[in-house]
Amino acid sequence: MAVESRTIKVDMLARVEGEGALYVRFRDGALEDVRLTIFEPPRFFEAMLRSRAFGEAPDITARICGICPVAYQMSAVHAMEHAAGMQLGGSIRDLRRLLYCGEWIESHVLHMYMLHAPDFLGLPDAVQLARTHGDLVRQGLRMKKAGNTLIERIGGRAIHPVNVRVGGFWRAPRKDDLQALVPELQWGRDAALRTVQFMATLPMPELEQDYEFVSLRHPGEYPLNEGRIVSSAGLDIAVEDWPQHFEEFQVRHSSALHARIKARGSYLTGPLARYSLNFDRLPAEIQQVARDAGLGTTCRNPFKSIVVRAVETLYAFDEALRIIATYEEPSPSFAPVEPRNVTGHAATEAPRGLLYQSYTVGGDGLIADAHIVPPTSQNQATIERDLWSVAQEGQAMADADLQARCEMSIRNHDPCISCATHFLDLTVERT
């Protein structure tokens, strides 16, 4: 008896950070298996952190990811300060938020212009995009540079910045040095507005997913470094309660651990979740820009994440300008923090979503235990669920088109595979 099988397979996913693969198999016209495989070699950060001094955590964890090192540094320093029972305010808090704005800009613009936009136009990369949309690509590069310059000015360099320490900064950036960035950031804000408008014109595949969104939520601001962990299904917990409500588990096809909400299942973190759970925390003007771009107060179409990223980029430029306008140099530039025989937890909003870390520090100031849960680990199961929907609905498509659609649907979530320590590999099989 003849069984008809069809496989779509991508052994090495392009335009994502890190190494992964995709595998989709149909059998007798029915979708049978979908796998996002992560084959990135494991690097064992949680083990390497044991017996290191607590103050080394921000420099070491930065090396988990070259695209979002600030996110790792921010979760690390806040976890150590939480362990020591401290919460820092004033200029140190503002500077951290400003530094994070730089990373959101750099990472979101990289993803929108160089990794994701080519999908919507059927192109292999931004170099080809530059042939037809030269000014657009140059605008993206200049925006990305503005984000990187902000990180450099505060952090010393764009990748693995050196100025972040537990308690604050090694040296406070001078007011004049930040003021000097204002004209370029103002240009960037205008360019981000044009970016929202452009991304909204891209042809969007229709798809509405019933995600459980998870993000931070802060009483007064769009979340970056602080807040409670909330979800669209009613979860509302302090960050330190993460271990009671979430769990990690291992699947054979991934060197990155998956995560789920206990007794409920997969969820989504990242721009769609942040936006949908915190729309009311955006300034009115940016809310209007989002509405004009066709977004509602929530967004459940993963392909529209590119528009949401543009809205968040606009917010990051806007917030950076707001912080610089009132910035005063903190003196001293850091507070003394000495965690001993305690455990601390923190979660911050990396460009790709919630990044949770916790540390137990011994009486000698050395890390006894470390726990790190990157956003892409948490999103893996949801990315696979999206792939099921996309493959199901795209069954009539030719293999090449279906493969392109599947890859695009993975890129919707801007997976950072080095972070997740998985490898991604795509195969579609039809029988």
Binding site: E19, E40, F44, R63, C65, G66, L110, K145, N148, Q250
Partner: protein, 258 residues
């Protein structure tokens, strides 16, 4: 026209992606660069892949799996000129900390099913596996050095990359010496220049992310660090970060207890 352009391939092994991201971080030069060299295989940036051989391969990351030990040989076979970029590829990176521990213990700490995880006991630099034509240091690399090396390659000249210590960059930048002023532990005297002496400019000690300079004199520095109050284990940690596997730093770490 494009037939005459040299071809470039970018490869990733165990790493954070930061060094290859440095290529995309050359925002002002990127469009000029792609007019001067043909990007033939760079999966982070493009889904269009042209088969090898390649004129120039940039290799990021260290070798930590049996599969990668095979893959780097294939990369070498397809590459006329192979350049490693960053501390992982040139010294094994932060993940070389496993070289001083029991990797099975590491596997158990992180994974509930350690048996699913395929890994080698060590993280080793690319040059330990295949011939490397040029090494670019840094965690991450410096993008000015990257552009200098690419330009040198395209113009068939030797790249101008200093092998002196970070101290010389500090002097040129006019940084006060953090070790002299307030006794801050600093690896600058034994670390290769190239970053621009960023850490001392931000009032902290150099942590050695460009690896040991040529003929570094690590023992007197370690002795000075102990005088400044660092205990044996703290001195060991100073030498064991992102270039822990580089010979001079490894040896000094071992002199301080294992």
């Amino acid at each position: 026209m494009s037939e005459q352009l040299k071809t470039l391939a970018v490869w990733k092994f165990a790493s954070c992606d930061g060094c290859q991201l440095s290529i995309l971080d050359c925002e002002d030069e990127l469009l000029t660069l792609v007019g001067a060299i043909r990007i033939a295989n760079f999966t982070e940036a493009s889904s269009a892949v042209i088969d090898g051989p390649y004129d120039l391969s940039l290799v990021e990351g260290s070798i930590t799996t049996a599969h990668d030990a095979e893959r780097i040989r294939e990369v070498r076979a397809q590459s006329h000129f192979l350049m490693t970029i960053g501390a992982c590829a040139t010294a094994g990176g932060i993940q070389a900390l496993r070289n001083f521990s029991d990797v099975n213990e590491f596997r158990r700490i992180v994974y509930a099913r350690p048996d699913y995880i395929d890994t080698l006991a060590t993280s080793t630099p690319i040059a330990q596996h295949v011939k490397v034509d040029f090494e670019l240091r840094g965690c991450p690399i410096d993008k000015r050095q990257l552009l200098e090396t690419l330009s040198a390659f395209l113009n068939r000249r030797k790249p101008v990359i200093p092998t002196e210590s970070v101290c010389t960059e500090c002097k040129r930048r006019g940084n006060p010496c953090v070790m002299v002023i307030d006794g801050t532990a600093c690896l600058g005297p034994v670390t290769q220049a190239g970053c621009g002496a960023i850490c001392p400019a931000y009032a902290r000690g150099c942590y050695g992310c460009f690896g040991p300079m040529e003929s570094p004199n690590t023992a007197p520095l370690a002795a000075r660090l102990e005088q400044l109050g660092l205990d044996h284990a703290a001195v060991r940690r100073v030498f064991r970060t992102f270039n822990a596997g580089a010979a001079a730093f490894r040896a000094e770490g071992e002199r301080h207890g294992g």
